[in-house]
């Protein structure tokens, strides 16, 4: 955590945004070329609804992964998100490229620890945080929403939520612009 964990300087935001935009566009191009190749090879009709759905799912995953990569593994939620996507990729047998990139990312960040792992299996109240917010149903909901939220106490959960919201908003904005541009 930085000294001001809530501080989000402009440079940080811009560089994140730029990085995310690049990665996302790159993955978009990738998906699109794959689609065109697929279409060209099979000479089939343009995408059906199921294909579109699949593609949109992939695009969504790519968006999240590019966001997580752009932010970097210094935040708990990005690590959790990257882990989740990594496992999903392993399960769905995506390209090895994803795995290696993840491994590289993880290697770069030498200190890669999932915090409070031992605390994960305890009920929130027993973790030693006597705030009632720990076991609230709303807090549980928030934990589900924020990646990696289940293993955090309420304090860090709120912090991660703040950062997550910021990044999500930025992601939505960039995607919106891209979509606007592409549909012009």
């Amino acid at each position: 955590m930085t000294n001001s964990p809530k501080g989000f300087t402009l440079n940080n935001a811009d560089s994140c945004r730029v990085k995310f935009a690049r990665r996302f566009l790159r993955s978009l191009i990738e998906i699109k070329t794959r689609q065109t190749n697929y279409n060209n090879n099979l000479s089939s009709s343009p995408s059906s609804s199921s294909e579109i759905r699949r593609r949109s799912e992939r695009i969504k995953l790519k968006a999240y992964s590019s966001m997580a990569h752009a932010v970097g593994p210094r935040k708990a939620w990005t690590r959790a998100l990257l882990l989740k996507l990594h496992n999903r990729a392993k399960r769905h047998r995506f390209r090895t490229r994803k795995r290696s990139s993840l491994a590289m990312v993880l290697k770069k960040k030498r200190v890669f620890r999932v915090k409070n792992h031992a605390n994960f299996y305890k009920p929130a109240a027993e973790r030693g945080n006597y705030s009632v917010l720990n076991s609230d149903e709303k807090t549980e909901k928030l934990r589900e929403l924020v990646p990696g939220g289940k293993a955090m106490d309420i304090c860090s959960l709120l912090e991660e939520t703040a950062h997550f919201i910021k990044c999500l908003a930025m992601q939505v904005q960039v995607m919106h612009e891209i979509a606007d541009q592409l549909s012009n």
């Binding site: 811009d14 560089s15 790159r26 990738e30 705030s131 917010l133 709303k138 304090c155 939520t161 592409l182």
Partner: protein, 541 residues
């Protein structure tokens, strides 16, 4: 009148039933075993009670009841002052033995702890009879002199008569456990049901917890006050009113600790540890001698409130100590299921302070989140804020899904649009000029090797850069491969455009803002399409 009769019946019933919840040593057999003095004390008490009850009181109004109660209490006071002696010890000892095992039940009868006090025998009897959980303290009672247990007993009496005021067992125990200062009591009580002790505001913080106020049975007040509610819940859950809870629990601890001073010597360090101590504990500990010292007591209480210092507590305690030597020992009102030794108490105090710090952090972060989430400025309270946050996160995620669907359906007319988009998005980042040259380089360098290989295209590029009013973007259309190789394009291109490099950053420094504001993307696209010949250009390195 009839309520008084009911009260008497209640008492007798409860005594005879000897249900375990009472768990007091005032079982009838105790009385039988006790010395004769007890018996003697019983009788005058009962006789006085019956006489009072049968005496012609006012009508059935509440005021009438109050008057009757006052009489009752007055007579009790007489009885008790007669019987005030040190004869309690045998029964007390037995009680103490019993009590130690049941010490942790703070919701037991309020008489569980008080009997440790050196009350008079009659006092005990009266307490036993009064032991009706759930009763409430009376609003107004006459000032009592003599035995300091008066006010308490009187309170119980009138509370029984007045019936329940929504106060639960815990509250009753909490309040009855206090050794009420008669003077203070009178102050509060004489103020009447709706009254307040002067100088203290309703619903003030837990520290402002003078006996008088605590004994004032104001429904709304007690329903609202965190004191009352917190007493009923000693589970260490740091609720919103958790501070009050903790404070109250601490108060009780301090009170009891103060009272147990006789038996437990290191009480002062414990007192020191109890944070923010309360005037109530002060009031309870500093047994005010009589109505005459009421003013002093009030000041003491106020002082204790103001300073909330342990030393102050000790002072008031010591001040009041000499006049009432029997009241030296202090009850430790433990939280449910927790021990009362010094270590655990200290531990609890420490955890409470830690909790406070944690709560501050949490509220700080909630404030930050409030800024982030749009439309949350007016919302207060953690629950609603959490709701808003959850809704916002869900809406953002839904938006991402929708946009990804949109992107999936958009026509793959991508090739040069992508790069344009890329650069455009890059320049969407506002205000970071250090990025601009880099971005420009990285984005336009694909053009440079392009220009590098096709030097004749350089002048047009350059012209467009210099002439255009910030709408030119020398981004060449590149294939996906070229785009991927963007980082590697930088080096070979640099030497070819040394002369243009200084200009380009300046150009963009000047016009970046206008670029962004002028509907940059569209114009750029137009110019781009105008200036560039073919969309597909491969860069060979």
């Amino acid at each position: 009148m009839e309520s008084a009769f009911k009260f008497m019946e209640m008492e007798s019933n409860e005594l005879n039933s000897s249900d375990p919840s009472q768990d007091c040593f005032f079982k009838p057999q105790n009385w039988d075993d006790s010395s004769l003095d007890h018996q003697q004390a019983c009788d005058p008490f009962e006789s006085a009670l019956s006489s009072i009850v049968s005496s012609p009181a006012a009508a059935n109004s509440g005021a009438g009841d109050g008057a009757m109660i006052r009489e009752l209490i007055g007579r009790l006071g007489n009885i008790c002052s007669n019987n005030n002696s040190g004869e309690i010890s045998p029964s007390q000892q037995s009680y103490n033995n019993n009590n130690n095992s049941t010490n942790t039940s703070c919701y037991g009868t309020p008489l569980n702890s008080p009997p440790k006090l050196s009350l008079s025998i009659a006092d005990h009897h009266i307490r036993a009879k009064l032991n009706v959980p759930g009763s409430y303290f009376p609003p107004s009672l006459v000032p009592l002199s003599g035995d300091p247990g008066f006010a308490e007993r009187a309170a119980k009496f009138s509370s029984l008569v007045n019936g329940q005021f929504g106060m639960n067992e815990a509250e009753f125990g909490y309040r009855s456990m206090a050794r009420v200062d008669p003077g203070k009591f009178s102050r509060g009580l004489s103020s009447g049901p709706g009254g307040r002790v002067s100088g203290s505001t309703p619903n003030s913080e837990k520290k402002d917890n003078q006996i008088s106020r605590s004994l004032t049975p104001e429904n709304g007040e007690f329903a609202d006050s965190r004191e009352g509610s917190s007493v009923s819940d000693h589970i260490p859950s740091g609720v919103f009113g958790g501070k009050a809870e903790n404070g109250n629990a601490k108060k009780r601890k301090s009170i009891s600790r103060g009272k147990a001073k006789e038996t437990n010597t290191p009480s002062s360090p414990k007192d020191a540890k109890v944070a923010g101590e309360t005037s109530e504990s002060d009031a309870k500990r500093s047994k005010k001698d009589g109505a005459s010292s009421s003013g002093n007591e009030k000041e003491n209480g106020g002082k204790a409130k103001a300073e909330s210092g342990d030393g102050n507590e000790k002072q008031t305690k010591e001040n009041s100590k000499p006049p009432e030597p029997p009241k030296d020992y202090i009850h430790v009102r433990a939280r449910r299921g927790q021990a009362t030794d010094s270590h655990s108490l200290a531990e609890r105090v420490r955890t409470d302070s830690l909790n406070e710090v944690r709560r501050e952090k949490i509220s700080e972060r909630m404030k930050f989140l409030q800024d982030l989430v749009p439309g949350c400025n007016k919302v207060t309270g953690k629950a609603v804020m959490l709701d808003e946050i959850i809704n916002y996160v869900q809406s953002l995620q839904r938006q991402v899904e929708f946009l990804s669907m949109k992107l999936a359906t958009v026509n793959p007319r991508m090739d040069f649009n992508m790069e344009a988009l890329l650069s455009k998005d890059i320049f969407q980042s506002r205000g970071s000029f250090p990025h601009a040259p880099y971005l420009l380089d990285s984005s336009s360098l694909p053009a440079f090797p392009f220009g590098y290989h096709h030097p004749q295209q350089m002048p047009p590029l350059h012209n467009t850069i210099s002439t255009a009013t910030g709408t030119q973007f020398p981004v060449n259309p590149l294939s996906a491969q070229a785009l991927h190789r963007t980082p590697s394009l930088q080096l070979p291109a640099m030497d070819g455009f040394a002369e243009s490099d200084p200009q380009v950053p300046t150009f963009f420094e000047d016009d970046l803002q206008s670029v962004v504001q002028m509907g940059f993307g569209q114009i750029q696209q137009q110019n781009f399409e105008g200036s560039m010949a073919s969309p597909q250009m491969k860069v060979e390195l």
